[in-house]
Amino acid sequence: MEFIQSLLNSENENVTGLGASIITHSCQTNMQQKALSDTGIIKKLICMLGGSVTQKEASLESLATILKGNPDVILKFMEPENGGALGTVNELTKDKNARTRLLACMCLIVIRNSSPSCLQDLRIKTKLILILLELLEDDQVGDEAPFALSSLIAEKEDLQVLAFEANVIDKLVNHLRKGPLLSRRLEGILIALANMCSRLERCRDRLLSLEAMKFVTDALSQDSGEVRAAACICLKNVSRSVKNLSAGLFMNENFVVPLVRLLFDDLTFVQVSALDAISNIVVDFLAHKKIFMQCGGVKQLVQLSKSMDSTIRVKAVCALRNLTFLVNDQCKEEILSELTQLTLGSLICDPETCVQEQSLSLVRNLVDGPLDSIQHVFAADALLLHAVGQQLQSASKAEVLIQGMYVFTNVASGNEVHKEAVMQELFPPLANDSESVMLKFLHSDDSRLRTAAVWALVNLTFPSSSGAFGRVMKLRNAGVVSQLKNMVNDPCLDVKLRARTALGQSMTSDDGST
């Protein structure tokens, strides 16, 4: 620390620049940021903002490093004794040197992202967007400007609105039209467009209306892995639009063929990005899922679901789950013949709970739809049904239990055989006197799990099913009916209404039997 201080105190600007640069490259933790701030280094760096171009730039980079993600240090930086340091940085966004302007913007973005209350002025935010757009044109810093823009707007709907109003999408697309661009610039623009389209439908609409998706699909086949991944991320965010998914906009060979190819990519981060985009695109509501399957997508997703990398595994299963959503029976057969009951059973019991959750959701979709679909969990000696039952007995994560209960709810909406099979899983005949999982779920603090459990009971006690009376007797003996009585005023409206339905049906079954 003393060494850095001595460097910063030097009369030689190369030496002070070196000191600032050491901070930029070595300060990594909040503790280090605080230690630097406590020794008064911030004041020295602020002084350097008035120095030569080299000093200004070294200081801006160094300040951004010290302030990043640390609201306490930012507060110190903003103290009046620092002589309106924020104003000085703000002034540097108008500097004649493009790199200085960019670094000043990045410093302000760090402050905004780490401590939003410090930079609330709408004009500053708009100004930052406009400066960064202008810097996009610059040969020296044009590659970095879109990344700075991304860090300004990422996950912030209010800033995305401002950027949209500043025509950011049109201007970014204009750059794409000027092409061909070098990889770094292309990657930055695609990431900025992805961030613009992460939340707002109007941004997605604008990008689509500019017919810019052809640039994105072209980028899916670029040599640079970073560009390929950026194109996938852009496509993922644009395809978050249910309106456009419903119009079948993405389920065509222009998107599907290059995306499926990327599932074989050598780079893991490209595969991960492609899986995310595919997960959205296969939701498709127009029954065109066959296109994806004909391109060999299912085969590769199944391969990736067996990956040693758990991130790849969970995303591959999620894509298969979305593909199975409202899909016709023929496609379900094809998915299952590729995946096999055995693999799906293993995925339900995967060591990673996220994989378990997605696998159970996949089974839930598999047994939805026409009644015959339920048979899928009874194949191979009811391997899948037993795997779900085992998970419900042993898992502890609510999300896993919820998906498992919905599998049973869907199966219990079938015929007598299906309903009885669910009863066997929930109330095994050889179980000891310990509390049933159904009772545990009805007592859960998580209203989503209580809802799923009560839906299963609604289906098990469904009045027009012939075995309802016998099941009600079993449920009564297991203490479930009396628990339902306690739930008719559940604080969750959904639970309350279903509990009343299940209880009403239980009473009807009783009456019908006498």
Partner: protein, 215 residues
């Protein structure tokens, strides 16, 4: 989607009043993605009685933004060779994102009140809605969900199919049994065309739920 009568101009775009401080409606599983409904839309006019069979499927739901969307399929439309499918987007009256006052699509607050009062479950809310559009109501535990559904485009036919999607539906959904009642509003169509839908279980002895997760 009634028969086209007169071409109308595009929808106005000023938003309905949003407020803060109220809690959102709790999630209702019967109104979740994948759920299907079927029933009829009465499109009778002074000249003739007519009703179309209608199927609805929920495709997207974002309670935080008071957003719902899906498709509506009209089955026995006289002037169409095939069932006509439209994509609609819904505003959930949650008093945070949207109030009972539409503030667009050519509907005045009088039109709003006239339509909402057609739903018996709306009557306990009427006096407050007349004051502020319902901004101060807490509907988080109310067993009915009020919505506006606006058809956005024809999915499987062209705009020259003889039907119009210029208007929108005032909708009331019952969380208890999943039934849906609605009234179509379009100054150029027969008034108060009634939509009546029930949750369908597609041949099952019970209810089934599918799901997807966007990344």
């Amino acid at each position: 989607m009634p028969v086209r009568v007169v071409e109308t101009s595009s929808a106005l775009s000023h938003p309905s009043g949003g407020t803060s401080g109220n809690t959102l409606p709790s999630a209702c599983t019967l109104l979740s993605v994948g759920q299907a409904f079927s029933g009829t839309q009465n499109v009778s006019s002074q000249q003739k009685d007519e009703a179309w069979r209608v199927n609805v499927r929920i495709q997207g739901c974002d309670l935080d933004h008071g957003y719902l969307c899906g498709t509506m399929e009209a089955l026995n439309v006289p002037m169409a060779d095939t069932p006509v499918v439209t994509f609609w987007e819904g505003e959930i009256v949650d008093t945070k994102n949207y109030t009972f006052f539409t503030g667009k699509w050519g509907a005045t607050s009088d039109d709003d009140i006239k339509h909402w009062t057609k739903f018996p479950s709306f009557s306990p809310l009427l006096s407050q809605v007349e004051v502020d559009g319902g901004k101060s109501l807490d509907l988080s535990n109310y067993p009915y969900i009020f919505m506006r559904w606006k058809e956005q485009y024809f999915v499987n036919v062209g705009t020259d199919c003889g039907l119009t999607i210029a208007g929108f539906y005032y909708v009331c959904f019952s969380c208890s049994d999943g039934s849906i009642n609605g009234f179509y509003y379009d100054p150029n169509s027969s008034p108060f065309q009634k939509l009546e839908l029930k949750s369908t279980n597609e041949g099952r002895l019970g209810f089934s739920f599918s799901s997807y997760e966007l990344q």
